[in-house]
Point group: C2
DNA sequence: TGTTATTTGTTCGTATGTATT
DNA sequence: GAATACATACGAACAAATAAC
């Protein structure tokens, strides 16, 4: 008699490789056994090993370098960004709710976290934020580097909390989806600059409520723009 | 002369399959071309097709059914859970900050979203929440189904906002990591039941501030427990 | 500089397991 | 049960990239 529905070989190999990383306490960048070694150690063919490694590479759990070797990956949030972007895009254009959900998460996260930031932000960080706003002002009409500066602002803001990467991931998803639909989130450069400056001003005054309110206002602007676009009003 | 650093074949195939799904507006569960068809259409070998499909399967963008066919995946948040769990676990046990970050995100999200829930929650939903709390009370000491009930509570709470899946993902990551380190987040069954009942009571009274405060108190308890455990105090 | 060894990338052929009809 | 269509898995070979000598 034969067992039915055994675990697929590729899945098993995936688990074994992950367990190997955890057991040996390997950190990002550490070398992994070569494909040939994994074949021998796990008693499977090269194709099975490769399929498992490809799957883990997609999750950024391993990193494969052609002609060099396989290494522990950075476990970055790239798969999260790719997955959420596809998920949002695949819900079709007639569903504006999908994009609104991403924005809602960003909004709630940033409005909540800025209260903690206000309590711990240093003068040096405030100066860096001020610098970004100034560069925004200079960039002005040339929309080229504007989104990058916006991202930089939000990254500096939450760097001290350790959650900056996660915030950045949601930022990227929102931008990619809106970009794929042919529009950008900024209402107008002048207003966007002003909103960001208001946030820095409130933070400098250690005004927790004011900072949260300024962030809320900033997001109201983005929301309005998104609602406008999703109605097909170019 | 030869072009240097062309895009790896597997990556190209991945993009092409994703584009195919988007272009044809295929939804979850729709059948994809068979491996043989993809080989022909894209002009590559079976192994390359399989490696690309395995990578997309890891992202839940496609679903492969042995002996049956390949289908568009659910684009669920499973990869997010796997990735974040590995990411948190791989930062080693001596770094309590990694787990604290996950908890911080949950806390900020739930405390922010419950304000919106309070404004829109229906009587029927409140009754369902009440029912979960009652079942918690009955489960009492038997810690068996307790975590499941907790999860169910939080899922019902945010179901109307459409972000329940994302919240559930963070819930699962937190639980898996704490589980892998041999402890559970509940301070004591009685207190946990009480905290949840307080939330329902505040919601029923349409008390936005009270609901947020009750949620905050709930998370303070979890935080305290996590801090205790990460110090090695069993 | 160029040569060589190592490692991953890609392909083919073949056999086997699985689900549907 | 049989036939068919499909995914799963193995082995061998050659191509391409990288590092080190």
């Amino acid at each position: 008699m034969r067992r039915m529905s055994e675990e697929p070989r590729t899945s098993r190999i995936q688990r074994q490789v992950v367990q190997l990383i955890l057991d040996r306490r390997l950190t990002a960048g550490a070398p992994l056994p070569t494909e040939a070694e994994l074949m021998e150690d796990l008693g499977v063919s090269r194709n099975s090993v490769r399929e498992a490694l490809k799957a883990l590479q997609a999750l950024d759990i391993v990193e494969i370098r052609h002609g060099y070797g396989t290494y522990v990956g950075q476990a970055s949030l790239t798969p999260l960004v790719d997955g959420l972007t596809f998920r949002t895009l695949a819900r079709h254009d007639d569903d504006p709710g999908a994009l609104a959900e991403i924005l809602q998460v960003r909004e709630v996260l940033e409005e909540g976290l800025i209260r903690r930031v206000a309590a711990t932000v240093t003068e040096a960080e405030l100066d860096r934020l001020e610098g970004v706003v100034t560069r925004m002002e200079r960039a002005g009409g040339t929309g080229r580097s504007f989104p990058e500066l916006d991202r930089e602002f939000h990254e500096i803001l939450y760097a001290s909390l350790g959650n900056a990467q996660l915030l950045g991931a949601f930022w990227t998803v929102f931008r990619r989806v809106s970009g794929a639909r042919g529009w950008t989130a900024d209402p107008s450069p002048e207003i966007t600059v002003r909103r960001h400056r208001d946030i820095v001003t409130a933070l400098r005054a250690r005004d927790v409520e004011g900072a949260q309110r300024a962030m809320a206002v900033h997001f109201r602007g983005i929301e309005a723009r998104a609602a406008q676009e999703s109605r097909g009003v170019g």
